[in-house]
């Protein structure tokens, strides 16, 4: 019985596809998967907006939206209707074509990553051999769209925001990919399905998730930080810093195009969180061997919601970084840590089972962390700042 519930969506898809002629079946199957992904993650977006607003409210000792519908749960509907009915303004001197294309390409690119995300057992749109590579390739289009938006708006703030976004996203793409390489080293596969299946075993009741190894833990932290930066969320929301450059590349977007940008940003965040789950948190596998009867997709979405909750928590806690702090952090801390983590993963891989392996890996993670942290903090002496004004 648990197997049936676990595979219910797979069976449903096969049943639906069975009605079409044989030569059409691959295409119909793809369409069914795509529609399922679009519906599931777009509704998760609606859920997340209300969760984020209510959660942020609670973190700041407020109520959050509680007027539309019971407990304010219909707020996303109201927001959607509002953005649909708003006037769509394109600046007179803007590049209208690119201005229109930017949000569309953003949403498309953000959704493309889901093709290789296994959301449950046997539930992946395409099992590519180079799935991880594809994911990062699709994700890098997002950077392009943000620059398209900033450039085509013909607005100084937009361009500033876009330039910040490019600088930030390229800087953080490096630790993002380097930290995920450790997983590729451990599994020997670029396929996301393989990566999850390698983690789905249990020793006793404990799962084989990579986050429970020293290099995996460090990799997960690095990946999460880089993922927050990649999805332009606080504290790395410099590209859209409201207090500095109004809203960055969003400035000239209104109405539904703005809603599309919003959607794209959240969808990108879900995708990269989903990848973090796939790489380090065991994908759809249950955290304990005696909980495997719960359907696999529930575990995936539960983990996804937990990660989103973590992102909201971090957003409510940390203030926005400065440009130089952002770059320092990326190149002086994240990059060395990710590189050392590669060595750690290699050492772990080639050493035999036992406490020695644990000891060596832990030292290889903790010592660089402490030394790097101390080195970075030493130059950060707080002193009175002297401002010199132009005369």
């Amino acid at each position: 019985m648990p197997e049936t519930i676990d595979q219910i969506f797979v069976v449903l898809k096969h049943w639906l596809v069975g009605y079409s002629p044989v030569w059409l079946q691959p295409i119909v199957g793809a369409i069914v998967s795509v529609v399922a992904i679009l519906v599931a993650f777009a509704s998760l977006f609606a859920l997340t907006t209300i969760l984020e607003r209510k959660g942020l409210g609670r973190f700041q000792n407020r109520y959050g939206p509680n007027r539309v519908g019971p407990f304010g749960l219909l707020q996303p509907v109201a927001d959607g209707l509002k953005s649909l009915t708003k006037e769509d303004i394109v600046p007179h001197s803007a590049d209208a074509v690119v201005h229109l294309l930017a949000p569309i390409v953003l949403v498309t690119a953000a959704f493309m990553g889901y093709a290789v995300l296994p959301v449950g057992r046997n539930m992946v749109a395409v099992d590519l051999d180079a799935g991880l590579l594809y994911f990062f390739a699709a994700g890098s289009i997002i950077e392009l769209t943000i620059f398209m938006a900033g450039w085509s708006s013909r607005n100084k703030y937009s361009l500033l925001g876009a330039m910040r976004a490019i600088a930030q996203m390229i800087s953080y793409e490096v630790p993002l990919i380097l930290s995920s390489i450790t997983v590729i080293m451990a599994t020997g596969s670029l396929s996301t399905v393989d990566i999850v299946e390698k983690q789905a075993g249990y020793s006793g009741i404990w799962p084989h998730w990579f986050v429970f190894t020293p290099w995996g833990f460090a990799g997960f932290i690095l990946f999460t930080i880089a993922a927050i930066a990649e999805s332009n969320r606080s504290p790395f929301d410099l590209p859209e810093g409201e207090s500095e450059i109004i809203a960055g590349y969003y400035v000239e977007y209104s109405g539904f195009k703005f809603a599309l940008f919003f959607l794209g940003e959240y969808i990108g965040m879900f995708a990269v969180s989903g990848l973090a789950i796939t790489l380090f948190l065991g994908g759809w596998s249950a955290p304990f061997s005696f909980l495997t009867w719960i359907p696999s997709y529930l575990w995936f979405f539960g983990k996804l919601l937990a990660l989103i909750g973590l992102f909201i928590w971090i957003r409510s806690t940390l203030p926005r970084l400065r440009d130089d702090q952002l770059m320092n952090f990326a190149w002086k801390f994240m990059l060395p840590m990710a590189l050392i983590n590669l060595v750690t993963a290699g050492a772990w891989h080639f050493m035999s089972f036992g406490p020695v392996r644990w000891l060596v890996s832990t030292i290889l993670v903790v010592v660089p962390y402490l030394l790097l942290g101390r080195g970075l903090m030493r130059s950060k002496k707080l002193e009175t700042r002297i401002y010199r004004f132009a005369e």
Partner: protein, 196 residues
Amino acid sequence: MLGEGILKGLAETAKNFFGSFVSKERLTTVQFPEERLPQAEAARNFPFLVYDGHDWQAGLRCVACQICEKECPPKCIFIEKSKDKKPDSMGKQQFYPAVFNIDVSVCMSCQICVEVCPFDAIEMDTAFELSTGDRFDGLLWRKAQLAKPNSYFHQIHPTAAAEIDKRLAEAKAKAEAKAKPVAAAAQPDPAPPTKS
């Protein structure tokens, strides 16, 4: 250690998050239409005209002196003086406003009309939940709409109203005391007009 402050901050916000569900004191928000904070006594929004007694047309204190109209900085008051006279609350014959309009879309709630009124006829209202579907005529308040009884004034600004009532009563008593000997003196000898 690097990251220590971040963990401390996360703990603090987590405390806020769970605390806001447990203790009511953390949530300082007043959920407005259902819950209301008491208004300050000096609260003010738009001016209104005070009348004594029950008949708003007879009891209106305004004598159409037009000082407020002249003093109003954004010029939102429009007064048309009457041709005839009517006895006011003191029993004296006075003009009255034939038309008294306030354009509330122009009014800036500065209270200068109240300060300059020598008859305490115009006062500030506290009603603030005002809306109208008609943005032209609905925003022009006429005499009938502006006239509110003295009891209402007591209700919204008790201290100020009591003070004004006392002052008016004193003035009335003084006027009556003055009018009596004059009337008594005027009866037997109407010829010489009093010097004062």
